[in-house]
Symmetry: D3
Subunit: 192 residues, 6 copies
C-alpha cells in the first residue's frame, strides 16, 4: 500500500475548494505539518464541513470548566466504545499532548475504568459513556452524581455535548472509512 | 402542570439573545405559529445553536436524491431506536406533513419493518439503522445493497449523515429533557 | 394499497365462525364501529381466540387497584419495547381514551421515563418493563420498591400479569403481521 | 427447608377453590401422582387459571403437524433462554417422556444447537427462538426457511404460538418464583 | 446414531499417546468407569492437555475456603451462561455428587438466582458471573461485597480463577463440539 | 503515583518464590530488560503460574500455520473486545515487534475490520471474535469459511485455542487489576 486512502469518498483538489475551507485546511497544515484526514473527508461537502468544524470548535476550543485534556478524554473514551478508528487514533494523539502524558490515551481507549485518572474524571467519563450509549435513561440523579464532584450545570452540558458531537463524528468516520494519518500514532509519545 | 417546561436548562429571554438567533426564532414562530422547543433549548448556547441548525439545514433543506419525506423517515426511525421523545414527536409531525400521510410516522416509530414503505425505502432505513446502532461494522457490501436499489454514493452519504446528525440530536434532547411542544402531536393527522 | 390486509393468515368469513366468536366480533363492531384486526387474526384459531380474549378480559376488564388507564400504560410501554405495531397503535388509542389525555400514549411509547406520569406510575412501568425484558432477575427487592408506592401484592400481580400477557400478544401480532386498523390512529386525539 | 414453597403468592386451600378448578387439580393429581405447582400458583386467580390452561391445552393437546415431543422441545428451548426454573424442569420431564429419550431435555436446555435433533427440528427451534427473542424482525423469509423443511403455515403458527404462550408462562413463573416439584427432576430419566 | 462422536477433531488411539497422558486417561477410567470426553478431545494436543489439566487441578483439587461443591457451582453457573453443553452436563453430575444433592445442578444451570443456595453462595455466584460476563467492570466494591459474606482475598481469587478457567474451557468445548458422555446425565440423581 | 502497582494482590519477593518460577522471571527480565507484570501477578499462585505459562507457550511459541504476528493479532483483537488493559497494551507491543509494523496493533485494538490486514487475516479475526464472544453458535459453516482461505483444521484449532486462552487471561488481568508495564507503550513504535 504505497499511499493509504484518506476516505472512501473522493477528496476534492485543494484549488477547487471554497476559499474559507481551503484556508482552514492550509492553516491546520501549517500548524500541524500535515492535513488530518477529517478535513479532507468533510471537504467533499462544504456546508457540512463548515457546520461540523463550527460545532467542534464551539465545544473543544472555548473556555470551559473542563480542561482541554479532559475534553479529549471524553472523545477517546466514547470513540473507543464506538470502535472509531479515526477518532481514537487522532484524538488519542491530541490527548497525549494536552495531558502531557504519553500513556493516558491508550489507557482510556482500552478501559477507562483502569486509567490513571482522578475520581472526578472517572465520574465525568461514566456520564459521557451514558450519554454515548444509553442517553434515554439519563435522569436527574446523574446530574446529582456529577455535582457531588464539583461539576456545574455548564460543565455537565459540556460533557454531554462533547459525547453527543462525537456520536455524530464517530458514525461519519466509520461510514466514510476515514483513515487516521500515520503521523498521529507517535504524536505525544516521546518527551519533548 | 400548568405550563410544561421546554428543557432542563434555562431558556434565555428572547431580547437577550444574539440578533441572528432571535431572528431565526421569530421566523420559525411566524411560519409555524409556535416556537419548537429545540430552538429554545439550544438558545442557551448560541455558538452550538448556530452550528446545530447550520448542520441540520445542510442535510434536511438542500436538494437531494432523497425526498424530504424520506429524510424525515430516517429521523423518525433512528430517533425511535434512541427513545428520543422530542425527535420522534416533532419529526413525526413533519414526516406526516411532508409525506401527506397521517399514519406513516407512527408506523415507522413503532417498527419500520412493518410500515407502508417501498422496498427502496426499507433498504434506506435498514442502512440508516446500521449507521445509528453499529456503524463500526459498515462495509462495502452495505453500499452494494443500496446501489441495487438505485441509490447513488451521494444519496448514501445523505442517509448516513442524517442518521449521524440525529445521533447527536437525540443525545442532546435526551440529556436536556427537551420536551416536544404539544402542537406537534396533532400536526398532519387531519386532512387539509 | 386499496385495502390493507389485517393479518398474514386467512380471515375466515364471519358466517363460518362459531357462534360465540361471531357474536363477540359483532358486539365489538357495534360498540366501536369497526372490528379491530386482532379479532380477525385470532378467528383463524377459535380455541386460541377464546383463551386469548378470556385472558385479556380477566386482566383488563376486572376491578383492580390499577385504573384502566394505568393498565393500558403497561400495555403501551411493554409493546413499544417489543416493537409491536398492532399493540402500540391500538392500545395507544385505548390509553388516550381511558386517560382522557391526547398526549400520554405517544409519550409512553417513545420513552416512558419522560412521560407526564406520577412517580407511582413510573415505578409501575419500571417493574412492568422488568417483567417484560428480564423477568429472570426479579427479586423480593422489586416487590419492596412497589410497596413503597402503595401497591398491594394483588396490584403487583396485575402489573406482572399484564406485562406477561402482552409478551404473548406482541409476539403473536409480530408473527402474524397483524395490522392496526386505520381508525386507531386518531382515536382519543381530539377533545370530545 | 422442610417443605419447599410452591410459589411466592398464597395457595388457596383445595376446598375453597371453584369446582371446575378443584376438579382439574384432582384430575392431574390422579394422573401424575402429584399436583404440579403451576396449578397451585394459578389457583390464586381462578379466571386467569381457566384462560391459562385453556390456552395451554389448545396448543399442547390438540392434533398438530408437530409431534407432542416437538412441541415440548419448543417449550424447553425458549424457557431455557428465559431462565425459567419451573418451565425448564417441568417441561424437560414431559419432553423426556414424550420423546422417550432421557438425554434430549438437558441437551436442548443447555444449547439446542448441539442437541441430537433432526435438521427439521433445528429449523423449528431456530424459528421458535426468533419468536421468543426478537419477534419484531420476523419476515416472510422466515416462513420460507420453514417451508423448505416441509412445515405448513399451520405448523408454523403452532411453533410461534407455543413460543409466544411460554413467553407469558415463563414471565409468570419467574415473577411468582414458581418452584418445580421435586418429582419432575427424575421423570423420564430411567428406562421403563 | 450407534456411537456418538466425542469431539469434532480426531481422537488419537490410546497406544499412540505420550505415556503421561495415557496414564492419566487410564487412571480416570479406572476411577469413573469411563473416559470423560474432555480427556479424549484434549489428547489431540498433548502440550495443551497437560497445561489444561494442570490448571484444572490447581483450582479444583486443592484445599480452598470454597468447598468442592461450591467450586462446581461456579462451573455450572458460568458454563450455563456460555451455553456449554459438555461443561453443564459433566460438571452438573460432579456437583450433584459433591453436594450430595440431586436437584442443585439443574437449579443452578437454569437460573442460579432461584436455586436452593445460601446468601453467601449467591454472592459467590453473582461475582463469578461478573467475572465470566463483564470482567472489565470489576471494581473494589465487588471485593467489599464478598468480604461482607466472609470471603477472604484468597477465596475471591479462587472464585475468579475458576470462572476464568471455565471461560477457556467452555470455548474449547463449544469449538470442538465436545459431547458429554451419556453416563453423566444420571450421575448423582439417585440416592446411594 | 511514584511507583505504580503491578496488581491488586501481593507480589511475593523474588527470593521466596519456587526455584523454577524465579528462574523464569529472571530469564524474561534478562531478555526484555524488565519483568512484565503478568509474571508478578501470577507468582502469587505458583501452581497456576506454571499452568498458565505452560498453556501460553504451547500456543504462542510453537510452530504453527499462523505466524507469530498473526497469533498476536488474535490476542489484541479479542483482548480489546474484553477491554483488557494489560493484554491490549502488552501484546500490542509484541504484535508491533513481530509484525515489524508500528501501526498495526492500534488499528486492530480499535476496530480490526478497518485494519491493514489481508482478507485471510480478516477471516481469522472474525472467527477468533466468534470464539471469544459467542462460541455457543459456532457451526461447521465457520470451519468452511476458514478453509476457503486456506486454513487447515490445525490452524483453526490454533485460532480458537488462542482466543479461548486469552478469554481466561483477560478475565484474570481485569480481576487482578493487572497493570501493563510502562515500557510496553513505546515498544515497536520506532524504527530500529
Amino acid at each position: 500500500m504505497t499511499e493509504p486512502i484518506a476516505t472512501r469518498f473522493p477528496v476534492p483538489p485543494l484549488d477547487k475548494l471554497p476559499e474559507d475551507i481551503r484556508e482552514r485546511i492550509l492553516a491546520v497544515q501549517e500548524k500541524s505539518g500535515f492535513v488530518p484526514n477529517v478535513f479532507l473527508a468533510f471537504a467533499y461537502r462544504p456546508d457540512e464541513f463548515r457546520a461540523f468544524f463550527a460545532y467542534h470548535d464551539a465545544l473543544m476550543e472555548k473556555d470551559s470548566g473542563l480542561s482541554k485534556a479532559e475534553r479529549e478524554m471524553i472523545v477517546v473514551a466514547t470513540s473507543a466504545a464506538n470502535q472509531c478508528h479515526y477518532c481514537v487514533i487522532a484524538h488519542g494523539a491530541i490527548l497525549r499532548i494536552r495531558a502531557k502524558d504519553p500513556l493516558i490515551a491508550d489507557q482510556i481507549a482500552v478501559n477507562y475504568r483502569k486509567a490513571d485518572i482522578t475520581p472526578r474524571q472517572r465520574a465525568m467519563l461514566d456520564f459521557a459513556m451514558k450519554v454515548s450509549r444509553e442517553a434515554s435513561t439519563i435522569s436527574e440523579a446523574d446530574f446529582g452524581a456529577l455535582k457531588a464532584h464539583g461539576f456545574s450545570d455548564d460543565d455537565i452540558w459540556d460533557i454531554a455535548a462533547i459525547a453527543a458531537f462525537f456520536a455524530l463524528s464517530n458514525r461519519m468516520a466509520n461510514f466514510t472509512a476515514m483513515r487516521p494519518n500515520d503521523e498521529f500514532y507517535m504524536m505525544g509519545r516521546l518527551p519533548k
